[in-house]
């Protein structure tokens, strides 16, 4: 049984301070595979980029392309639950936000919420946002905007702010 004490001490020592514990036997194999995984990641990223460009060209040609982006104004503390967009009276997008998505927006992320095709000329955009204020009260706000689609791709930014906080409301502008 005295071996038990020695073994136990060895176990304790195994838990003593080391910066990194690596599986030495498998380390080389894993590192070699790691390099190959990084290569395939790079290849797939390049496929994704090319495919997206091709897809955009096929589905949303530049002369009819319209993209709408959503962002949240700085220092806004309201909770955005959903956004609904209508273009010329037709439902274009209805997005319900997950916690992660909302967090990403609050940290300065910009969401591409809609990409579609429109003819050149004037169009009507209706934006509705649903959310909750810091005091727990539900709110629902809408805005109606007119924008002009030219021959170039159109990108519109929709900046949302909770009512009663900051400048408030829904703002739409060219980007």
């Amino acid at each position: 049984m005295s071996n038990l004490l020695r073994n136990s001490l060895l176990l304790v020592l195994a838990a003593s301070p080391v910066l990194v514990t690596a599986q030495d036997l498998s380390g080389d194999n894993i590192r070699s595979l790691d390099g190959q995984v990084q290569e395939i990641k790079s290849d797939v990223l390049s496929i994704a980029s090319e495919l997206n460009t091709l897809e955009e060209r096929l589905l949303f040609p530049s002369h009819t392309q319209v993209s709408l982006f959503v962002s949240i104004g700085q220092d806004e503390e309201f909770r955005l639950d959903a956004v609904q967009l209508e273009i010329n009276g037709e439902l274009a997008s209805h997005h319900i936000y997950s916690f992660k998505e909302l967090d990403a927006l609050q940290n300065g992320g910009v969401q591409k919420i809609y990409t579609g095709n429109l003819t050149t000329g004037e169009h009507q955009l209706n934006v509705t946002m649903i959310g909750k204020l810091k005091n727990g009260k539900d709110f629902n706000e809408s805005g109606s905007f007119v924008f002009t689609k030219g021959v170039k791709p159109k990108a519109l930014g929709i900046t949302l702010a909770g009512p009663g906080f900051g400048s408030g409301g829904i703002k739409v502008g060219d980007w």
């Binding site: 001490l9 304790v12 990084q38 496929i47």
Partner: protein
């Protein structure tokens, strides 16, 4: 302990990997979109967006007019960050190095140098990390001042330069962010440098920090456990006990501390005191190696106290527990060999929970993951595991894209079928219209030029009406005839002159009015021509768009389809290798634990028999006693 081991193993990386900065006053939507994905942990999507955006920015003739221009340094930093977070260390740093070597101000350059050093550290390239840190000079951003020093200290520690590390860590004693970690690491640096007394003093200090922060409490426990272990190893059993007792009973290091406290007491032959921690420990999570050892150690202590009956009961309990755990381990090995471990690892729903690896054990037919926690916490296994999960994600993406090609082909086919029969007639009509259009454009140009010429050198005859022009021509003919005919009388010539004079008078006196009218008509024509030109241009654009809507897709689609298929094949190959490696490592670990438990079982069996004998002998002695 296992979860915290994982936490501590990754602690440094977590501390060093700063989140992408909030894009204040963001001007570039696509950079914002990349951040939107990055903040959700979707680094593949973030990289794909930002890489394309930065590439397009580089190809622009006047980049200063591009919306990314003001963010380009941030964008390059973020590219490096995203690549790092997506575990693409080979690529990470490329963009940051470009910033570092560019003409940027001190603050930006120092930030870049720090980020580059962090990348080298994570790639375990310590010399390069130090070289990058040495480039930090002049004004340092306040937010990363301590980060730089903490990184420097860790690079020194990783290089075995404890003395240098000690100097740096001392300077972080008052850091808000790093004081706890620096204090512990300083103790470790002293220890590794052979400065035992200083190490004990420092770890003692780190083991008494007042804090409510969970990670600092864990560091405090670890300091006490390490210090207790160092003393125990050195035979200073009594002295080790207070430090081991300082470890919180509900903390992640408590099992190991309880086990060591028991052995320290045993070593000074204070068997009763050894029973106390071990009695607590035997009722804890059975898969923990400290608990399993305590199952054997507790009856050993009872034996020393000559309570052989109780010792026998506990040895029996230990045997039962070991037997059950060996069965569990065998089932776990079988489950891994059947591929259940890898199947469970890639299940999306279980990964929604932050403790997903632990939750694997709740799934049917999956291995007992508690036994794998140490392995899961190791850097190489983590790398392998994350790579396996990334490969599985990539595979899912590629299969989805692969499914889209048929739909794209169908779109192109429908468009081709619709437009191709229409286009020859449309093009024929357009050619006719085009030649008429060109003629009118030339006529318009001539009229504009004539108007412009008349403004600088007046020519009244140019503004004559068709009737006047006919009359002028007739007069000219008659004048010529008169000149040839000597018989013409003087009166005829005078009449011709008079008629010519009347016409000239009209042309000259009405010249300005006629020029104004002409100008007005040319301007109206300008408008009409502009409208026609607009329609012409729109037609050309639409005609081009029609061509672009179905032509030029076949080759790239075919190539991309082949690339997707090849990538899936390559990923399948890599996943098989990576998965096999993970399975082998997991099985090795489980088999080692099983062998260990079987060894414990043998000892328990022998000790159980011995305890029964001794208990029986004691009972016999008692009965013999009158």
């Amino acid at each position: 302990m296992s979860r915290l081991s994982l936490l501590l193993a990754n602690l440094l990386l977590v501390l060093l990997a700063a989140m992408p900065a909030r894009a204040e006053d963001l001007n570039d939507l696509y950079f914002g979109e990349a951040l939107y994905f990055a903040h959700q942990g979707l680094y593949f999507e973030a990289l794909e967006r930002l890489d394309t955006e930065v590439l397009q920015h580089k190809q622009i003739d006047e980049p200063e007019l591009d919306s990314l221009f003001v963010h380009i340094d941030d964008a390059k930093f973020s590219l490096g960050d995203f690549e790092l977070r997506y575990r693409m260390h080979h690529r990470a740093g490329r963009a940051i190095r470009a910033v570092l070597e560019g003409a940027v101000d001190e603050v930006v350059r120092n930030d870049a140098a720090y980020r580059l050093a962090r990348i080298h550290f994570q790639k375990q390239q310590m010399e390069d990390a130090l070289l990058a840190l040495d480039r930090v000079d002049g004004e340092i951003p306040e937010a990363i001042r301590d980060d730089i020093e903490f990184l420097r200290a860790n690079v020194y520690l990783a290089q075995g330069k404890q003395l240098e590390s000690v100097d740096v860590l001392k300077s972080l004693k008052n850091s808000d962010e790093y004081s706890g970690f620096a204090s512990y690491n300083l103790g470790i640096a002293y220890l590794q440098n052979g400065q035992r007394a200083l190490a004990i003093e420092q770890l003692d200090r780190a083991g008494q920090i007042q804090t409510r922060d969970a990670s600092e409490l864990a560091i405090r426990d670890k300091s006490n456990l390490v210090l207790g272990t160092v003393l125990l190893e050195n035979g200073e059993f009594e002295r080790s006990l207070p430090y081991l007792n300082r470890v919180r009973l509900d903390g992640p290091f408590s099992n190991q501390a309880l086990l060591s406290a028991g052995w320290a007491a045993m070593s000074v032959e204070d068997f009763e005191r050894a029973v106390v921690p071990w009695s607590i420990l035997v009722d804890r999570e059975i898969t923990d190696s400290a608990t399993q050892e305590a199952l054997l150690a507790l009856p050993y202590a009872y034996g020393k106290l000559n309570i052989h009956g109780r010792a026998a009961i506990h040895y029996g309990r230990a045997l039962d527990s070991f037997g059950a755990e060996i069965q569990k381990l065998n089932a776990s090995v079988d489950s891994i060999r059947d591929g259940k471990f890898l199947e469970a690892l890639v299940r999306e729903e279980i990964r929604q929970n932050k403790d997903w690896v632990i939750r694997l054990r709740t799934l049917p037919e999956t291995p007992e993951t508690y036994y794998l926690m140490d392995l899961l916490a190791s850097h190489d296994f983590q790398t392998g595991l994350q790579n396996y999960l990334d490969l599985a994600d990539l595979r899912r993406k590629l299969l989805t894209w692969g499914g889209g090609f048929d739909a794209y082909d169908e779109i192109v086919e429908i468009r081709t079928g619709h437009y191709e029969p229409l286009l020859p007639d449309v093009d024929e009509q357009f050619r006719k219209l085009d030649s008429r259009m060109r003629l009118r454009v030339e006529q318009h140009k001539t009229l504009v030029k004539r108007r412009d010429d008349l403004l600088t050198s007046p020519r009244p005859e140019f503004l004559a009406t068709p009737e006047e022009q006919m009359l002028l021509e007739r007069i000219a003919v008659l004048e010529a005839k008169a000149a040839m005919n000597f018989a013409s009388n003087e009166q005829t010539l005078v009449r011709l002159q008079r008629l010519k004079g009347v016409l000239s008078y009209t042309l000259r006196t009405e010249y300005h009015a006629r020029l104004t009218e002409f100008d007005k008509n040319v301007r109206n024509l300008d408008q009409a021509m502009a409208m026609v030109q607009g329609e012409y241009d729109e037609y050309v654009r639409n005609r081009q768009a029609v061509t672009h809507s179905f032509e030029g897709y076949e080759k790239p689609m075919r190539r991309l389809r082949a690339e997707v298929e090849q990538s899936v094949e390559e990923i399948d190959r890599l996943m098989a290798r990576q998965g096999h490696l993970l399975e082998v490592l997991a099985i090795e670990k489980l088999v080692a634990r099983r062998d260990h438990l079987e060894n414990y079982g043998d000892k328990a069996r022998f000790a159980l028999a011995d305890s029964y004998d001794r208990a029986t002998q004691a009972q016999a002695r008692l009965s013999e006693t009158p």
